[in-house]
């Protein structure tokens, strides 16, 4: 990359902002803001409370490439006004009332609505979304359905030995990344939480830790590791089983398992047993291959077995900053983590039945609301093709692939920059993401939009708003 001059042309600094990209939720970002008036307290040029009204972020400190790119968004593609698709198939700008009324009408009149997304918005928004879902009997689902859904199923099969990331930072002397390329998908994970930071019991940081990457590809993370275990594609299940067998004192019958010589497996298991504190981070490499949740089952069992010898924990590498938040939110509100179907007047959760992809491939939904997510970019076309048959309501901040399939577009605002809200880090630590600048005038907060939809649907259905609510 070419050298870039440091940014000096800014008026205000906002500190301790939280990154709204991946599940690391780094909360040490510093935004450099240009223009606007401070609504709150200012010390020198640091905004100590409140936000900058009318300013815009010109620089971000501490963020990784991903975080910086998201905060320093592409304004060309920012959705600014509500739009409705006309008969010609073109999105036409309209006013908020028209767009919200149309959307509410679609939702109120639908038989099998699906509200998908939520992982890039706040818990506060979800509250209204859930109330709306309960009211109309919708299916509420989030991105876990296409990323760590199998992990959650494995957790339901096998258990959930986790920790907060600080435990890893302060204690871990062995770090395992499996089926995950943290350097690309969670770039600050190694730097801030796992490998490089100097922890209380690991004063020398990187030098006190052994890093292992298990991945069929020699990824950027593997390149930074001490050990790379390049098992075969779709070989994860066999490989972990072999590790478990060795751990339990069994002799391996084959010389090479999933492309890994058995001596290497034995050596690896031995060093994992010897670790004082081990941390295993697993990603979509395990959930997206053929054995899906069974891969994670066996990884969790491996960790449980390792605890007889030493201390091991794991953490799923959650992708979006609040994907864990939605699972936690749904669990405490209605008992199930994702793919919750309210069609029968009570929550129902059946994997493979009440999940978005399965619903779409079965062509069940008749209205699809996507909020803070991008099925156009991330669903297999076999699922997306049904979105071409039904009305799609989109609440998002950028014109993306889903906008190409959307019939009603409601421009939201950017959580952690333009709006505050609660999120849960991949390890379940809640963080209140604060507002740093004001949103574009014509946009609305996600919270407001979903609440408006709720109110309008309640009006159509003739139901009084719930008092004191939840």
């Amino acid at each position: 990359m070419a050298y870039e001059e440091p940014i000096t042309d800014y008026d205000y600094i906002v500190e301790n902002c939280t990154c709204a990209f991946c599940g690391c939720n780094c909360d040490d970002l510093v935004y450099l803001v240009k223009g606007g008036n401070v609504k709150g307290e200012l010390e020198d040029n640091v905004v100590v409370s409140g936000y900058v009204d009318g300013g815009h972020v010109v620089g971000v400190r501490h963020a990784c490439r991903l975080g910086a790119s998201k905060v320093m968004e592409d304004m060309d593609q920012r959705l600014l006004v509500p739009m409705i698709r006309d008969a010609e198939g073109n999105l036409v700008e309209t006013d908020w009332d028209t767009a919200l009324d149309k959307a509410a009408e679609l939702i109120a009149g639908s038989v099998r609505p699906v509200f998908y997304g939520w992982s890039e918005t706040s818990i506060e928004t979800m509250k209204f979304g859930l109330e709306l879902g309960e009211l109309v009997g919708a299916v509420l689902d989030n991105q876990a359905t296409i990323c760590h859904g199998p992990s959650l199923q494995a957790v339901q099969n096998a258990g959930y030995p986790v920790m907060t990331l600080g435990e890893c930072k302060n204690r871990a002397d062995m770090i395992v990344y499996t089926g995950n390329n943290a350097m690309n998908s969670h770039p600050r994970h190694l730097a801030r939480y796992s490998t490089f930071p100097r922890g209380f019991f690991r004063k020398r940081g990187r030098f006190d830790r052994t890093v292992v990457t298990m991945d069929p590809r020699y990824t950027d993370t593997a390149k930074m590791s001490d050990i790379w275990v390049g098992f075969e594609q779709n070989g994860d299940y066999e490989f972990y089983n072999a590790m478990r067998a060795v751990l339990r004192g069994k002799k391996l019958q084959k010389d090479v398992i999933s492309g890994i010589p058995k001596e290497d497996i034995e050596e690896l298991v031995e060093s994992m047993k010897q670790a004082q504190f081990g941390a295993l981070f697993f990603g979509l490499g395990l959930t997206h291959t053929l054995s899906k949740q069974r891969n994670i089952d066996i990884a969790i069992n491996l960790i449980q077995d390792l605890n007889k010898f030493s201390k091991w924990n794991l953490i799923p590498m959650r992708g979006h900053f609040n994907v864990n938040g939605f699972n936690i939110f749904m669990a405490y509100e209605q008992g199930f983590p994702y793919g919750v179907d309210f069609a029968r007047g009570y929550p129902r959760y059946m994997n493979g039945e009440t999940n978005t992809i399965d619903l779409l491939t079965r062509e069940e939904p008749d209205v699809f609301m996507v909020i803070a997510a991008d099925p156009g970019a991330h669903f297999p076309s076999g699922a997306n093709r049904h979105l071409a048959n039904i009305p799609v309501i989109q609440i998002d901040i950028h014109w993306g692939p889903s906008t190409e399939l959307a019939d009603i577009v409601l421009p939201g605002s950017f959580i952690a920059v333009e709006a505050g809200g609660t999120s849960y880090r991949m390890d379940g630590v809640p963080i209140y993401m604060k507002k740093a600048i004001s949103k574009p005038e014509t946009c609305r907060d996600d919270e407001w939009i979903v609440n408006e939809l709720l109110k309008r649907v309640q009006k159509i259905k003739g139901i009084a708003p719930r008092e004191a609510s939840k």
Partner: protein, 175 residues
């Protein structure tokens, strides 16, 4: 700034591979996932731009496979699976060697060819899908064009080109 024209990739060097026989079509294993350029471009919101087409609509290949197929960086290829076909760029994978595997970042391009089969566990099979790759002269489509072409939500009825083909049967036999 995080804007790039296209992701930086290593140059393809010629391999003196005695077994490397030039072929027109390779049978490979398709992997999808994210990388940092795709992630940055997508979440910044630059999905309509040429950058996204390069970041996301690129099949990263092992250089030996590239030699066999006779392609160099940023040539074009068509990838076919049981679920569909899509034209993408090819480039030298930063994660090589991984002979017999191609990696396409998640995005509208990869979506056309991955399997929506969840085996009743909610998650489609994004990784480890059998695929074939051939060289082509066609140009990979920009995001908006691709979405219009593939899903045809707002296309007139007379246009009946369909990239997705028949909806596959659930009882697939290729495993």
């Amino acid at each position: 700034m995080t804007y790039v024209d296209k992701p930086p990739v290593p140059n393809v060097v010629k391999f003196d591979e005695p077994n490397a026989k030039k072929r027109n079509k390779l049978e490979v294993m398709l992997n999808t996932g994210s990388d940092i350029y795709q992630g940055a471009c997508k979440k910044r919101g630059s999905t309509l731009k040429d950058e996204y087409r390069h970041a996301s609509g690129t099949a990263y290949m092992d250089p030996r496979d590239m030699a066999r197929l006779g392609v160099k960086n940023w040539d074009k290829a068509i990838v076919k699976t049981a679920w569909g076909e899509v034209v993408v760029f090819v480039a030298h994978s930063r994660d090589a060697p991984h002979e017999g595997q191609i990696f396409i970042c998640k995005g509208p391009w990869a979506n056309v060819i991955v399997s929506p089969e969840t085996y009743c566990c909610c998650d489609p099979t994004y990784k480890g899908v059998p695929a074939s790759i051939e060289k082509t002269d066609e140009e990979p489509l920009l995001m908006a064009d691709l979405m219009a072409e593939v899903y045809q939500k707002y296309k007139k009825a007379e246009d009946d080109s369909n990239k997705l083909g028949k909806k596959p049967d659930n009882n697939i036999d290729w495993y």
